[in-house]
């Protein structure tokens, strides 16, 4: 390592989501919708001096084979409303909402985010997502979908326009662009942060470029050291073209973790959690997501199907695609053959293995190693249990990070921008 000062780690708490990472069968699992659960996790995050609390979004219930997917948690609240309520029971914690740029309009969303920033005294963040499809569009006036390139065109213009509204400080904004032709005036002064923090999660070429041009934080999916470093290097080198310094964009991979008294205990617990996350029917559902055909008669404790996947299948709706089905199937077959795994064992092995597993000391050391070696600037922690899933991390790992001198022992700033060390945006 070089002689530079230790990098400080940034931490965020992701409320457990509507996918199989969240283990609802655990006896300690509580409501996914009652306010008390959101409050518990947010208060835990603030006790741990986290930078922010994060809520995901999905605007249509997921479907498999034309029916609502019933194996994972289903249902969630509207994010910004929950965050406004959480602003009343927290004091410093940043409050991040995922909100789709396709199924919202800039004036209204800029106003809602400005309201959250005022009502929380400078703690609002917006995770801009652009995923849009005809399936989700059936719940909205605009319907339809945008193709991939247009999604980012719209998102980029959306963010620019939202910032114009925020900067205007209650004055009129007139904007005529390819996506939006609007003239309006927000009923609010400039938000306390100037601009609420903008988070971006896309991993494609367009997504990375959009992040470099417009985002304050990247919610990345690259949680291993090597992949994290490659991503970090790639995204940070794009910043100069937009006149930005490497520090002005924080890269925070979404990560899972399992703690134990010893590393061996932790690995044992991790395996148990993986089995709970991938039951027999969930294993088949993953298989169908890749194969694109009904495999309900396939034996989860037997080998992979002999037939090849059907590309471009509409069998599964409302989820992120895993990639090219034929390529994935080839990889899965190779791994199954090499390690002699059944279908369910293979799904357990290849999907969603926890990012950090070990004693608190091991996990603290690994997180620190990732940050000091530029694989990340921090982490968005995704617990598997609602709402107590971060209790052990805050009790055991946070003190060790503080001992290492890489994580705050008290909040030094008031706003989320201050927690993240982001520059104050210039305005009018």
């Amino acid at each position: 390592m070089t002689g530079r000062p230790l990098k400080q780690i940034h931490l965020a708490a992701h409320f457990p989501g509507v996918n199989n990472t969240t283990v609802w069968t655990d006896p300690a699992s509580r409501s996914q919708i009652e306010f008390s659960s959101f409050r518990h996790l947010a208060e835990t995050a603030e006790r741990g001096k986290f930078d922010f609390f994060f809520l995901a979004e999905g605007l249509r219930l997921r479907e498999v084979k034309g029916r609502i997917h019933d194996l994972d948690v289903v249902g969630r609240p509207e994010s910004i409303t929950v965050l406004n309520a959480l602003a009343a029971v927290t004091d410093r914690l940043g409050l991040a909402a995922t909100v789709n740029a396709t199924f919202n309009e800039p004036y209204e969303l800029a106003r809602r985010l400005a309201s959250l920033d005022h009502l929380s005294e400078g703690r609002a963040a917006w995770n801009v997502v652009t995923s849009s499809d005809a399936f989700t569009g059936e719940n909205f006036r605009r319907g339809g979908y945008l193709d991939r390139a247009d999604r980012y065109t719209r998102a980029a213009e959306f963010v620019r326009l939202a910032r114009e509204f925020w900067d205007a400080d209650g004055a009129e904004v007139s904007h005529a662009g390819p996506q939006f032709d609007v003239t309006g005036t927000l009923s609010l002064p400039r938000p306390p942060q100037g601009h609420p923090v903008v988070i971006q999660a896309g991993d494609s070429e367009e997504g990375r470029e959009f992040a470099a041009s417009a985002a304050d934080v990247v919610f990345s999916r690259h949680s291993t050291l090597a992949a994290g470093q490659a991503f970090h290097t790639d995204v940070k080198r794009r910043l100069a073209a937009y006149g930005r310094k490497p520090d002005e964009l924080k890269i925070m991979p979404g990560v899972t973790y399992v703690l134990g008294d010893t590393d061996a205990d932790a690995h044992e617990r991790a395996a148990e959690i993986r089995r709970a996350q991938v039951g027999p029917r969930t294993a088949i559902a993953f298989l169908e997501q890749v194969w694109g055909v009904d495999l309900s008669d396939h034996d989860p404790d037997g080998p992979l199907p002999a037939a090849d996947p059907v590309p471009d299948s509409a069998l599964v709706q409302g989820r992120t695609r895993l990639g090219d089905p034929l390529e994935i199937a080839a990889k899965w077959r190779a791994t199954a053959a090499e390690k002699n795994l059944t279908t369910r064992e293979l799904v357990i092995e290849l999907t969603g293995r926890q990012s950090f597993i070990g004693s608190a000391r091991t996990v603290a050391a690994q997180l620190d190693e990732h940050v000091q070696n530029d694989a990340a600037d921090g982490f968005i922690l995704v617990p598997h249990l609602t709402p107590g899933g971060l209790d052990d991390f805050v009790d055991q790992v946070v003190p060790l990070l503080q001992e290492r001198g890489v994580f705050r022992t008290e909040y030094t700033g008031r706003t989320l921008r201050e927690h993240l060390g982001l520059p104050s945006p210039g305005g009018r």
Binding site: W24, T25, I33, E34, F35, R39, G58, R60, L61, R67, I68, D70, L71, V73, V74, G75, R76, P77, E78, I80, T81, V82, N84, A85, A87, A88, V89, F103, N104, E105, Y107, E108, R111, R112, A114, S115, L116, H118, L119, S120, E121, E138, N139, F140, R141, G170, E172, F180, V182, T183, G184, T185, L186, S187, L188, P189, G279, P280, R281, T282
Partner: protein, 345 residues
């Protein structure tokens, strides 16, 4: 003993954008044991104010009983977002949410969205009725017992208890189901502000969908006549609150207000619109509320937890639930009357 009245108050405070201001007002309203507070909204530059639903969500955890009724406009917004936002307000307030249904009729608001030209009020209110219909279907789209957490079969929900709303109207269509489970109140309370002689479309929305009407009438006789007409169309379950300006600079004004409230008949209560919210809501709680309680016109303490409890309105069954009562499985309603499910509250 006289019948207890229902009271609500407008918290509107042009120029205030900070949470503390609205929280203090709501706490005063709660001290006065009001049924609910309202906050108006629009997409115009003036007055300076935050998003109404956001402000009331922000003060929900700081209050315990008072109902929270933000204005949400239906003209440029997505009905799906409106439904889940009001639903979520009900979750974060543990059953205290309502929705003051409004429209955006100005050129200024149309230009802020740039999506459609300004439309005439009859059309806007017809569209608002569709938005309320969709919101209510989405609230009902999860039956109350849809979440089963059945470990044996690995199923988190019983998907037979999640329903497509399949609304197709003149202005929009919404497939459903909601992404948000059924709110604690089943359906948050729908509130519509009306003049005694309002547009037919706005009146029709109120008589078909509203739980509460905030009535503006030129005098007590006009109010009584309008209330009678509304009840004839909507039934006895509609709560009609007469809009009443509130200015309480001194004890004399408080006494006069008490007499006026006690002397007005034909309505279920009053919607207080303070001239100076900070001063007038505190004065109402300290001077008027005790006098009303002494006469049996105001509750001495909250007896229920939810806004429906305060208003004496039953929690509705989901229209999609195949319960023992066949009317619960709602047939489409004619335009001017309530559906069987709505009347059966």
């Amino acid at each position: 003993m006289p019948r207890q009245l229902h009271f609500s108050a407008a918290l509107d405070s042009p120029g205030h954008v900070r949470a503390g201001h609205y929280t203090a007002l709501a706490l005063a309203a709660e001290r006065a044991t009001l049924d609910f507070v309202t906050l108006d909204d629009s997409f115009t530059a003036a007055p300076h104010r935050p998003d109404a639903l956001a402000a009331l969500a922000r003060l929900a955890p700081a209050t315990g009983r008072v109902g929270l009724v933000p204005a949400v406009t239906t003209t440029h917004t997505e009905p799906f977002h409106t439904s889940i936002s009001v639903n979520t307000l009900d979750w974060v307030s543990e059953g205290r949410a309502g929705w003051l249904v409004t429209v955006s009729g100005t050129e200024e608001e149309a230009r802020a969205f740039g999506r459609r030209p300004v439309a005439p009020p009859p059309e806007l209110w017809a569209e608002a009725a569709d938005a309320v219909e969709v919101a209510a279907r989405l609230w009902d789209s999860w039956e109350d017992d849809a979440e089963i957490r059945d470990v044996a079969t690995g199923r988190f929900v019983d998907r037979d208890k999640l329903h497509y709303t399949d609304f197709q109207g003149r202005y929009f269509s919404v497939r459903g189901p909601s992404i948000t489970p059924r709110p604690p109140q089943g359906r948050p309370v729908v509130v519509v502000a009306l003049n005694a002689d309002d547009l037919p479309e706005r009146t029709a929305l109120a008589t078909r969908y509203a739980d509460v009407v905030l009535l503006d009438a030129p005098g007590p006789e006009a109010a009584r006549a309008a209330a009678d007409r509304l009840r004839l169309q909507a039934g006895e379950q509609l709560r009609i609150l007469l809009r009443l300006g509130l200015a309480l600079p001194d004890a004399v004004a408080a006494d006069a207000l008490t007499e006026r409230i006690a002397g007005t008949g034909g309505v279920d209560g009053f919607h207080l619109v303070p001239a100076d919210p900070g001063r007038d809501l505190a004065a109402f709680a300290d001077r008027v509320a005790p006098a009303l309680r002494a006469r049996g016109l105001l509750r001495t303490a909250y007896t229920g937890r939810t806004l429906r409890d305060h208003l004496g309105l039953a929690r509705p069954a989901s229209r999609y639930a195949a319960g023992p009562d066949p009317v619960a499985a709602a047939a489409p309603a004619p335009a001017t009357t309530r559906s069987p499910a709505e009347v059966s509250r």
